[in-house]
């Protein structure tokens, strides 16, 4: 029995399997005249507004400075390719919700208005029509988690610029890849 006889099943699998799509990383990402791989300029602006509320700048850099939008943009053309639609619909819905509530897009809101709106997304209490394609709570969960990854994760993936979060936590950057022997306490015996 040869595997080639099973093409139909394989085709089925490829359609159903989220991660399978990642094999073609980057291919489906169009630019639309935007400097980003996936996002349009408006989408990137809205997302930047969100991530900088999720990890706001204070005495240490915030998510935008750390490159979190770049991180998410990059992963959407890689391992998170299957979330492209979620982001497309989600960011559009964020701006729609913002327009209908405050008469402005999300990026142009006052900080306290942004926070208020994000709480409504989180609680699933954002106005319904805009959120038909994706639930606001689910979309917000994705953005929070991906923001944490982009801010606290390894800079090699496009976020955590200059290891800023690790420096904030007083962790050596670049990370320790080995310790010198004299740096180590001695084993107790043996």
């Amino acid at each position: 029995m040869q595997p080639s006889l099973r093409l139909n099943r394989r085709a089925f699998l490829q359609a159903a399997l989220t991660a399978a799509a990642a094999a073609g990383a980057g291919v489906a990402c169009s630019r639309n005249g935007s400097p980003w791989r996936f996002f349009t300029l408006d989408e990137a602006r809205a997302l930047a507004g969100m991530v900088d509320q999720i990890i706001p700048p204070d005495q240490d850099a915030g998510a935008v400075w750390a490159g979190v939008v770049n991180y998410i943009d990059r992963q959407l053309c890689g391992p998170y390719q299957t979330l492209q639609e979620t982001y497309r619909y989600g960011l559009e819905a964020v701006d729609q919700t913002s327009q209908s509530t405050y008469g402005k897009v999300f990026a142009d809101l006052e900080s306290h208005q942004q926070i208020e709106l994000l709480h409504r997304l989180e609680d699933g209490k954002a106005p319904g029509a805009a959120w038909k394609q994706v639930s606001s709570a689910e979309f917000f969960r994705y953005v929070v988690d991906h923001t944490m990854q982009g801010f606290y994760g390894d800079p090699r993936h496009g976020g955590n610029r200059e290891g800023v979060s690790w420096k904030m936590l007083n962790l050596p950057y670049p990370p320790i890849r080995g310790r010198v022997r004299s740096d180590l306490p001695k084993p107790r015996s043996g």
Binding site: M1, A16, A20, Q149, Y152, D154, H157, S165, P175
Partner: protein
């Protein structure tokens, strides 16, 4: 297209299969060891905190890849196809060494009562709980062999609950971390019995490899200085050195082949080029971990075995277990973290048995390394999830907190199971594993109790605030890296799959040697028990074979 006949073909090179390969090869048997993944070396190591076996948001470092989906059925009966990076998949690494390449490496011996749960606690409603057909005494010499051959450091002499051991551990513990120094006196004040966790990790040069360099990249990663001891850098190289063991990587076994007389004759597998090969052998050993071992047996159907091998009484794939993890995080007013790996170093076994109101329990230990994303992405109730409050929390407590966690011994459940899916196939056209079931109420009672004990320990250690893990969900089957139970060891062929020597009841030259055979999985990380059973089963296998006059 058949290959040269050998004495034994072993499917899977993890904790179980690696040990069997070495024991059989040293006894002079010709062995083929098939592994579906690759052989990684310390030089392949890429410390990536978003792409490893513990945190796989951007993928697994050591497999399996997306060509290997599973089907997961949730509590409401809804089924979905899940890739290996999803929690519901219950992933275990697919590479030479299996989970032992990237594990945290705790090296626990189960306690005597863990082999006698039914005798100790009686029948548990809703559970298939039973005694093992072997005792701790049967395994004791093989625990010792695993500790010395594969290499364990630590010191459990202060653990008054431990089962008797004849020989101490071969290596001393690593020096205590700051967390250890804070937790130890607190445990003693509470009347507990803290000790240095036995770890499959070199604390001093041992077995030709160097000592741990105390980096924070431990559990979930391969060791870049090769100080962590798995089967990939101990027994498997030894097996190959005998000249009797042929390790073949990236080989996907489709089924176990059987003769008209009901004996195993070998396996059919797709090699790394996708070609179908047949490897014939005198005996077949299945060591793919609980989910894949069950899947392989169930996929090996024939006229004599219409429901799969070993499955005459519908027990293959049943009783899928893992561990319910619980504990607490303590927030301190002072720095508790010294950024020294491997993190986990101190434990108590005061709560493994003898608790009132529920069956068994589990160990409690300080948690492994804390990578910043792991710490920041905690979603325990009581910890802010985003915004300025979250950032302040991470900044304030990353270096001033201690987590105490532990694995609760789960009650085996007949309906928590591995089946093969009737529709979904993997990249090679082989039906995939289908996971379904739920957990037992006892797991909830036990984890609630244990997280309260973790809280008390952290409070005594001076934590200003302690946040306990939330109650576990009983929906869905357990599993994960500690997966076990699906090919239960027992004396009665009607209520088990293999006999006390890991031989499948109705196929006398077919063995299952991995966590699948555990009737219950201890309140402990199970790897040393898997290794000990592999030594034990191998010893019997070699003896039986000699008795038959074969060579």
């Amino acid at each position: 297209m058949s290959l040269k006949h050998v004495n034994a073909v072993i499917v899977g090179s993890g904790a179980g299969g690696g040990v069997v390969a070495k024991e059989l090869a040293e006894a002079g048997l010709s062995v083929v060891l098939l592994e579906r993944g690759k052989w990684f070396t310390p030089f392949d190591e890429r410390k990536d905190d978003l792409r490893n076996q513990r945190t796989c948001v951007l993928g697994n470092a050591f497999g399996p890849d997306e060509r290997n989906p599973r089907v997961y059925v949730d509590a409401s009966g809804h089924e979905r196809i899940v890739p290996p990076t999803y929690g519901a998949y219950s992933n275990n690494a697919a590479c030479v060494g299996g989970g032992t390449l990237s594990y945290g490496a705790m090296a626990w011996r189960f306690m005597e009562k863990d082999f006698r749960l039914r005798s100790t606690y009686g029948t548990v409603e809703g559970s298939t709980l039973d005694d093992w057909p072997i005792t701790y005494e049967d395994l004791e010499p093989y625990y010792e062999k695993a500790e010395w051959e594969i290499g364990v450091s630590g010191d459990d002499s202060n653990n008054i609950f431990r089962a008797p051991r004849k020989r101490p551990l071969p290596m001393p513990p690593l020096p205590p971390t700051r967390e250890h120094q804070i937790l130890k006196p607190a445990a003693q004040r509470l009347g507990l019995h803290p000790f240095d966790i036995p770890m499959l990790r070199n604390s001093i040069p041992y077995n030709g490899r160097g000592a741990c360099m105390r980096c924070r990249w431990c559990v979930g990663f391969a060791c870049e200085v090769d100080a962590k001891c798995g089967t990939h850098n101990t027994v498997i190289p030894t097996a190959i050195k005998t000249g009797n063991c042929d390790l073949r990587c990236e080989c996907i076994v489709r089924e176990i082949l059987t003769s008209d007389r009901g004996r195993a004759t070998g396996v059919a597998y797709y090699d790394s080029d996708g070609r179908l090969q047949e490897q014939s052998a005198d005996l077949v050993v299945v060591s793919c971990a609980a989910i894949e071992s069950a899947r392989l047996l169930l996929n090996s159907k024939s006229r004599l075995f219409p429901n799969g091998l070993g499955n005459r009484y519908d027990w293959v794939g049943r009783n899928l277990q893992g561990h319910a993890y619980t504990g607490a995080i303590g927030l301190f007013d002072r720095e508790t973290y010294d950024d020294l790996g491997p993190g986990a170093s101190i434990a108590v076994c005061d709560f493994n048995h003898g608790n009132s109101g529920f069956v068994s329990g589990g160990l409690l230990a300080n948690e492994f390394i804390r990578l910043p994303y792991q710490f920041a992405s905690r979603t325990t109730a009581g910890i802010p999830r985003w915004g300025a409050a979250h950032k302040n929390f991470v900044r304030r407590y990353y270096r001033s907190s201690i987590s105490v966690m532990g694995p609760m011994q789960e009650m085996p459940i007949f309906d928590s199971r591995v089946q093969v899916d009737p529709k979904v196939k993997d990249h090679w056209g082989i039906p995939v594993a289908r996971l379904s079931g739920h957990r037992h109420q006892n797991d909830l009672l036990g984890t609630n109790f244990m997280s309260a004990k973790a809280e008390a320990w952290l409070k005594e250690a001076g934590a200003a605030t302690v946040i306990r893990s939330g109650p576990i969900s009983l929906d869905g089957p357990s599993g994960g890296q500690h997966q076990a139970g699906t090919c239960r060891m027992g004396s009665d062929p009607k209520t088990s799959v293999v006999d006390k020597f890991c031989r499948v009841h109705d196929v006398d030259n077919l063995y299952v040697v991995d966590g699948s055979v555990h009737p219950n999985n201890g309140g402990f990380n199970p790897v040393l028990t898997i290794m000990a059973i592999a030594y034990y089963a191998s010893a019997n296998l070699v003896k039986t074979r000699k008795g038959m006059g074969a060579t």
